[in-house]
């Protein structure tokens, strides 16, 4: 999950490599750090006392200003005609012209639909998998075997997405293992990466492969925090193992689940940009092309900067809206909030 690159890859933040679990952790940390109100101090005395601390902040702030906030302002080219070689903020105000253009572009609505479908499949299929795996791991009695399964299942998380794409293409190729299995059971070899109807299956499967292990880390940590007395009480009430899991374990890790779900919803629109870019080809565009890949082709390859920036801004605003609403709903409904 590349949560941090919520609108495409160019500035895909470093953290995106770390996966959803990590971001949840980061945010959980924000939430859990109590802010003790310091005594009010004027800027003059604060600067006098802490100028060395402030000096440490200058370079990082410059980084955020130039590489994070300046591009946000750069989105103004979505409203202005941009001429390569001209001002980076565009030359001439054209209002919502580019937004009208893409809203009336049937290609856009197809990639919009694909984004929603892949995003929804990710939430429904990929998101629950680490929970299941963590629960299974938690039932193991052999500490060594458990550690072995964990170590192996984390591995795909550390592999470059280029390698992952290469592995996927090899396995699904005409002479690859999957087609050998298909033929073994009497089927005809399937050109997976040339048929649009297979792309979603291939994509989601590879997502599960890549993320399921690493995703268990925070759940396993949460599982250790479930109160042992609750299991005791459940047993006295005659609950069997399955009922204990259902009534004690799952409620116990619910805050973690909700936090990760909210973060996942926030990345809904940015679904798998780099991976899709590596995997797709014109034959599978009908299902594989998503907003971020479409705007990459329109913007970078065809140099329609303003048009693509308008699409990107639209995507980023939806992404921000999604995470804000998901967070608000979760705060109201279950009292878990990111901040």
């Amino acid at each position: 999950m590349s949560a941090l690159s919520s609108s495409g890859g160019a500035s895909g933040s470093t953290g995106s490599a770390l996966g959803g679990a990590s971001e949840a952790a980061a945010v959980a940390l924000e939430e859990q750090t109590p802010v003790r109100r310091p005594p009010r101090r004027t800027w003059r005395s604060a600067l006098k006392r802490d100028w060395r601390l402030y000096s440490l902040v200058l370079l990082p702030l410059l980084f955020f200003a130039v590489f994070r906030y300046l591009p946000m302002l750069g989105n103004v080219i979505a409203f202005r005609r941009f001429r390569p070689g001209g001002s980076i903020f565009g030359d001439e105000w054209v209002g919502l012209r580019y937004f009208e253009l893409f809203v009336n572009d049937p290609l856009f609505w197809n990639v919009f639909k694909n984004t929603l479908v892949l995003g929804a499949l990710t939430l429904v299929v990929v998101f629950p998998m680490p929970i299941v795996l963590a629960l299974l791991l938690n039932e193991l009695r052999s500490k060594r075997f458990k550690r072995f399964v964990q170590t192996v299942s984390y591995l795909p998380h550390f592999i470059s997405i280029v390698i992952v794409a290469g592995l996927v293409l090899q396995l699904t190729s005409a002479q690859g293992t999957i087609n050998q299995l298909v033929q073994l059971f009497g089927g005809d070899s399937i050109p997976f990466m040339q048929q649009a109807e297979w792309f979603r299956t291939v994509y989601i499967t590879s997502e599960v492969w890549q993320t399921v292990g690493w995703g268990t880390i925070l759940y396993l940590a949460a599982l250790t925090q479930v109160d042992e007395n609750l299991y005791e009480a459940a047993r006295i009430d005659g609950a069997n193992r399955w009922k204990q899991t259902w009534h004690v374990t799952l409620p116990g890790i619910r805050p973690t689940m909700i936090t990760l779900l909210v973060l996942n919803i926030g990345t809904f629109m940015a679904v798998g940009f780099e991976k899709i870019l590596l995997l797709y080809n014109p034959l599978v565009y009908p299902t594989a092309d998503v907003i971020s890949t479409y705007l990459y082709r329109v913007g970078i390859l065809s140099s329609n900067f303003s048009y693509a920036a308008a699409i990107g801004l639209f995507e980023a605003v939806i992404g921000l809206t999604l995470i804000l609403s998901a967070n608000a709903i979760s705060r109201r409904a279950v009292g878990t909030s990111l901040w």
Binding site: L4, G8, L18, V57, F63, F67, P71, L277, G312
Partner: protein, 310 residues
């Protein structure tokens, strides 16, 4: 810090079931057997693609094209390795990856530690604004096109800077370090300041030496990220001698998919590439696989640090 040590967390889990074990029901006994089987299957499925690619890398082209290579190499040879390793561009790109990773990680560590240290001081005026500036970028960013325009405008295309600067701070890593610094005993720094050390002195001579563990973890996080990254280079570099090895590999893979996607499924070029691709993938992923068993626990502890109650 409650769960900074993942091993301890694991031990706790491992320790709990026996206390819960009164007598396993028949159904639970069956479940345990099924569970172990399922998890073994998971291990197999996770590892299979790697085994497959290693097998292919030692196989002959003919064996791969006729679909004989799965777990074991067929038509064993190391010719493909010799072929790939004799490509000077491969080594140039490999060296680029090393250079980009080292420089980017160094810059990232300087920016991340200094900022994290400042915002870990709870009585720093403007602290919450500084945190807000960083955290907001997790949820909203400028997007592909404005970034692209900016990097071009800064004249960074075809330079190292386009690779190492735009992702120099990961907000996640920043927050992990901040949490770590917040948990350092304040008394140490107070004592040092009474002894006449300035903020700089405290930072370099007290705080950093005490933070070796978290610094090591962060270095690993950044190094793996930069080692694996490709898109930044793909976007901003267009001279082959500047590519990192991931882009070298990407171009190889893209060449193969293009030829099959043109409908020429028996295209010779694509099949040869399958062989060479396998070797390139193995060589690219090798450092990570070799270091992984030793480093894995640091990564996990990094994530744990982030979820610690401060």
């Amino acid at each position: 810090m409650t769960v900074a040590d993942p091993d301890r967390a694991t031990r706790r889990v491992a320790a709990t079931p026996p206390t819960r074990r009164v007598k396993d029901s028949r159904g639970y006994q069956v479940f345990r057997v099924v569970n172990v089987t399922v998890l073994l299957l998971v291990v197999g499925l996770v590892l299979y693609p790697f085994v497959n690619i290693v097998a292919q890398s030692f196989s002959s082209e003919g064996a791969i094209t006729s679909g004989q290579v799965n777990l074991v190499p067929r038509g064993f040879n190391v010719e493909t390795y010799r072929l790939v390793m004799s490509d000077s561009l491969f080594w140039v790109n490999y060296r680029n990856t090393v250079v980009y990773t080292v420089v980017a990680t160094a810059i990232a560590m300087v920016l991340t530690t200094t900022f994290a240290y400042a915002i870990s001081k709870k009585d720093l005026k403007g602290r919450s604004v500084l945190i807000g500036v960083a955290v907001f970028t997790m949820f909203f960013n400028g997007g592909l096109i404005p970034n692209y325009v900016l990097i071009n405008e800064l004249g960074m295309t075809n330079t190292l800077w386009a690779i190492v600067l735009p992702n120099a701070i990961s907000v996640f890593n920043l927050l992990v370090m901040k949490a770590f610094f917040e948990n350092l005993p304040a008394e140490l720094e107070e004592a040092a300041s009474i002894d006449g050390l300035t903020t700089y002195g405290i930072f370099f001579r007290i705080v950093l030496p005490l933070s070796k563990a978290v610094i090591a973890t962060m270095v690993l996080f950044y190094a793996v990220f930069f080692w694996n990254s490709w898109f930044q280079a793909f976007l901003y570099l267009d001279r082959a001698e500047l590519y990192p090895v991931t882009v070298y590999l990407r171009n190889m893979i893209a060449g193969a998919t293009t030829s099959t996607s043109m409908g020429a499924s028996a295209d010779d070029a694509a099949q040869v590439a399958a062989n060479i691709q396998a070797v390139t993938m193995v060589l690219t992923v090798l450092p990570i696989i070799c270091l992984y068993p030793f480093l894995q626990k640091y990564f996990v502890s990094g994530v744990m640090l982030g979820s610690v109650k401060g």
